[in-house]
Symmetry: D2
Subunit: 398 residues, 4 copies
């Protein structure tokens, strides 16, 4: 039996459910060199944390992450809180010698992200591993895309188009949440889903963005507050009757930008929470000198591949169903043609993190990868605020 | 905390992994009235069973299903063995007062299936529940299809086309296995995947087949034996050199049939293990007097719906992404647009079985449903053996 | 300037418009060895024929096909009348030394079709050409499919699925027409569209059906007569008020059959006028030992091709857009990616017929090809009338 | 019989073939108030013009457009020359009282486009009609999209994405042509295909772009000259052996830009001749507050429509096959489900132009529409040359 790897997870929101499923399921399908166990769930509210721990199967509950990250009987700290607390928790955990898996975004600010990256690099020298949760790198189809591109199958990358489209804010009656306040969420569509598009584009191509030009827009600028809330309240109605109160939306709901990669390739990026009918549509199409690759998260078991070196009469976009045992991670799952879903990325991620810890090798995406994405997003915001002109990314090197 | 529901699973093959995932995951997402626990795994070979139990997380191991089904500390027996042992185990478990979940096919023969159905009905009178594992009924899209049809949204069903296509036997060098021997597997493509097509067609439409006409074919009639095996060996080569030995394939690799439903509707069915490029493609299209419905398991989060009552200029097949909280089972899973996969049907199935046990109501598909499917398959075999003419299904009533 | 090829067309219905477009357009895109000219349009009703001739651009009008087929200044007779007059016109024209292009079906009965085939073979010996209008052979994608299969790219054909689905009879209020009377139309969905499916399946694979088993169904058995019509009137209402009169539908609106090819391959066929939402959907998928091919007339510029000899991780259905100059006929049309439509098959057909006349070589599909399809349909009808059992096709040889 | 409308066409390249097909076919399908006749083809080279006229069926040939536009027996001048001669010919024709149909782009420069627009407006006062050949407005699906949006079916337009992707320049060995020289072609992908995307986006939405921000790129900057050519020759090799000569590419092969509409909506635009595997893919997706619309020229008979006012469980993108008689122009063509192709836009365009002439009403797109598109493209070029910042479109009003 493999040695245990004792995990504490900080946070109990939606991402907590996903990460829990990853820890729960990974050892049941993969042969892992260490056996992760779900030891402690940390949440601010003891009632909610207790409910979550019981539901998700964590061994015990704590409300004090500082104490937990210092415990000797914890090996891994998995951070799934909102972005504004990532830096503090991650740095403390790394300094305490815990391996850290941190959900994206790395942080809400570049300053924090830089500090985290420094901490991760210092920890790495001591054999402590850290990894960032861009789980779409763990969809077999995107990993296959990266392999094909790295093998030169589409030649030199010239142009890509990435869009991440959702529609949960289309209705102006959709209520105000903390996610729509800049102070707490850091960013809107840009940071939440645009970050995935940037990371995945860079991951698949192996290229890095060096400058960007963009615009951020907010179409619905005030939304009704949930009853009883005072979150960001603004003047609603002066009527004496009970009136709906409204909150001000201070983040973007649409982000459009283009980027130039260090190689000279160009890309178009869109992130929208206003794309009516698109639920969770992350599409990337990459055009190279010898072929093309296209991926769509709404059809995540497939990869489209066009090989321009085939005879002309036979060229076409081929839909590869990425469920063969030879495809990345798939051998551990089901027979060919049995579809994987959203959550499998979290199990694949857990497996890879455990493998890296056991092997003593640095896993990717690293905090440095996350910092770079953060700098890209910063540059987009800066461009948007300065007439949309090109803005260099602070660090475009790899 | 909900009362425990103690499960023993008999069998440790591929279906054991799927059922284990169902029991493991269901209580982590659904609020269940009883708390299923994975108590005992039963397997013939103690080594393999022990490995499987450790891997999948079962509490203990047994090699004696007879003893386990009699234990007082077991509430549910989940049967995932090959079909030839279903009857014996299920009947014993039901008689011992255990709720039984049985993987399809119900049995390898109609005689056995009838006995199981009688046992299930007798047990039901004593409050003991039984259910058959046609899990594709638990894909949200197929359940939505059933709802739409039951609500009259496509009017009177006239015609359907169901095909279940795989390609794992295309290569004549694919080796012999027990699944290709009639004595052990009972049937080939017909019983393995054709059964799913029949059940799903009947489930979605609410109709029952009353007569069928069909043909079974075996394109590759002998296959190399795995080295060291003597499974169904036939004369290979008389050469003095070490020669490949071959086994005789005694089941169909392609089954084509058409059926007439009691309502007068007609259907076309195909089950193939020779459909090059189709990995696990179960497609059903149903044409009614007011609309149509189409489903494809290779795109399982979607349902196609055509509503002929809309204005002519706006009619079209609509792709409903069946991941909204309002869709069946989905509320427990992920936000809209986050895709579910193959295995979620097993968790949904576990949830429904637990609910039925707690509610004291008979779950579907029942053993009687499975018996009916068995009779349809029997009728197809009979038709194939008698010049392809129409053959009545022994029991076409519902 | 190429020598003229003087065409007379008999018939002025929907097919007349399509054939006219073929003659009109072919010489404007292809370099033809003879220059077809639209000389005479023949129609029974002089008013309607005159209107059609003016609209479509025919030089003169006649109401007497017998006289026209004898004229010295006519080289080609193009027959687009309903099927019950094909035999008489075609045989007369061939005997008069005219090349004959005949719209499908070849005839309404096998006896007529045999006579036509004999006439065509006799004429061929005298250098007179005849051809049948299965225009879907002239869609570039189907011709590419035939080439790929002939080149062995999908190996041995094992199984195919062909369906031709329309929905113009779904509504029971759709009025009675002569097309729904067996005496005049010969057949329903089977002969009208099922014939295309059979011909195309045989064309693409190069195989011939040798036996079939099928069922014909009529879901809506009476339909309102158009006002003023007495076509097939049956008792409607005894009310003294003006009542809708109904006609009896005496042909099938759904035909389902399976076939065995002489090679041993099996096929499933469906022809429906009741497939709600499917407008003109002719789909064929062919599974072979080394690959698969799929075609859909609703996406007629594309061909799906699966090559099972590629590395496993890269296999997938490839969508070839069949608009490259290297593809059949395409060089004469538009640049790559500029889509062709339904009517281009008629221009391609006119080109091929003119080429065959100039070259003195027998064009395909021949009348013998049409006779064979007729025999397949006869066998389906016979099977449907005799309990659905297998019925041999009178001539399954090629 | 309708009165004649005598057409002279100036130019004999690829667009000449398309316009000829439009004039040839339109009167054979539509009931036109005037009967267009193909009287004169004008080309610089008498040999090539004569061949084209014979092939396409023009009555006579001329090499002198100035003389032709003055002739009393010509009613319409159809201009299909390269963009650098549009202004001179169109203005002369309008001043001579001829109706003018001009292929896009309106001109190679805004100054010329302004002059043409003034001439068109002056002529309009005298009852002379002019129209620009953005034929994709005449695809039934795009016209249906415009209707749905105008009817408020997707609510307020917020965001659109338009891409026009081709791949004919992917191969660096593809030879130099005049289309790649700025002096002669005016622009590259931007003006050639980006113009279509801009026009179609504005047509479908009814909105106008008021500012843009963009980048132009040329990935392959020199290409081999066709043998014997000296077009734009640059230094190749100093070897004494016969060396390939190269020409300099002076236009963009990729254009990326975003635009803000006067309404506040935002759009992303891409035009590429480097999009490997995309042959003629013009896609537009428009997201509104109540629904979405998507169109793809590679599937031109279909329109995707998402209606967010439907019940949640039934929402989805609906594929409307735009071939019903009730759809724009379709009644004149084929029965439902019989696909139209690229060239039908030219026949629909000819019909609309003839109708407008007969009705004395100004057709669209007008020269003013073309001028506006030109100004958008100018602004994109200006933005690209000035650090990619937002640049106002000279005239964003409608």
């Amino acid at each position: 039996m493999a040695e245990r790897l004792r995990v504490a997870m900080v946070g109990n929101g939606f991402m907590g459910a996903a990460h829990s499923q990853g820890w729960r399921v990974a050892p049941r399908f993969f042969d892992l060199p260490l056996q992760p166990t779900m030891d402690v769930l940390v949440g601010r509210d003891p009632g909610r944390a207790g409910e979550a721990a019981a539901k998700w199967g964590w061994g015990e509950v704590s409300t004090d992450w500082r104490e937990v990250v210092e415990r000797d009987d914890i090996d891994v700290v998995d951070i799934v809180t909102p972005g504004d607390s990532h830096a503090e928790i991650a740095i403390a955990a790394l300094e305490a010698g815990k391996h850290v898996l941190c959900e994206k975004p790395l942080a809400n600010s570049t300053v924090e992200a830089e500090a985290m990256t420094r901490a991760a690099e210092a920890a790495s020298a001591r054999g402590i591993r850290s990894m960032l949760g861009f789980t779409y790198r763990r969809v077999p189809a995107t990993a296959l895309a990266r392999q094909l591109i790295a093998d030169g199958r589409i030649g030199e990358v010239r142009h890509l188009r990435a869009s991440y489209l959702q529609d949960w804010l289309v209705d102006p009656a959709a209520p105000m949440t903390w996610r729509l306040e800049k102070d707490r969420a850091g960013s809107g569509a840009l940071g939440d889903i645009g970050a995935h598009a940037v990371d995945l584009a860079q991951y698949m191509t192996g290229l890095r963005l060096s400058e960007v030009s963009g615009v951020l827009e907010t179409f619905v600028r005030r939304r009704p507050l949930p009853s009883g809330s005072s979150s960001g309240a603004i003047a609603g109605s002066s009527s004496s009757e009970p009136a709906t109160e409204f909150g001000e939306v201070t983040v973007d709901d649409l982000a459009l930008f283009r980027g130039r990669f260090a190689s000279g390739a160009l890309g178009t990026f869109e992130a929208s929470r206003m794309a009516t009918g698109r639920k969770n549509s992350l599409r990337i199409e990459i055009s190279g000198s010898l072929g093309s690759i296209a991926f769509d998260l709404e059809n995540l078991n497939a990869l489209e591949f066009y090989d321009a070196t085939e005879p002309t009469v036979e060229q076409g976009f081929k839909t590869i169903i990425v469920t063969e045992p030879e495809h990345p991670w798939v051998d551990a799952w089901w027979p060919a043609g049995h579809m994987l879903g959203y959550e499998h990325g979290f199990a694949n991620q857990a497996k890879d993190f455990v493998d890296a810890i056991a092997a003593g090798s640095p896993p990717r995406p690293s905090f440095a990868d996350g910092l770079h994405v953060q700098r890209v997003l910063d540059a987009v915001e800066h461009s948007s605020a300065t007439d949309g002109a090109w803005v260099g990314v602070a660090d475009g090197s790899d």
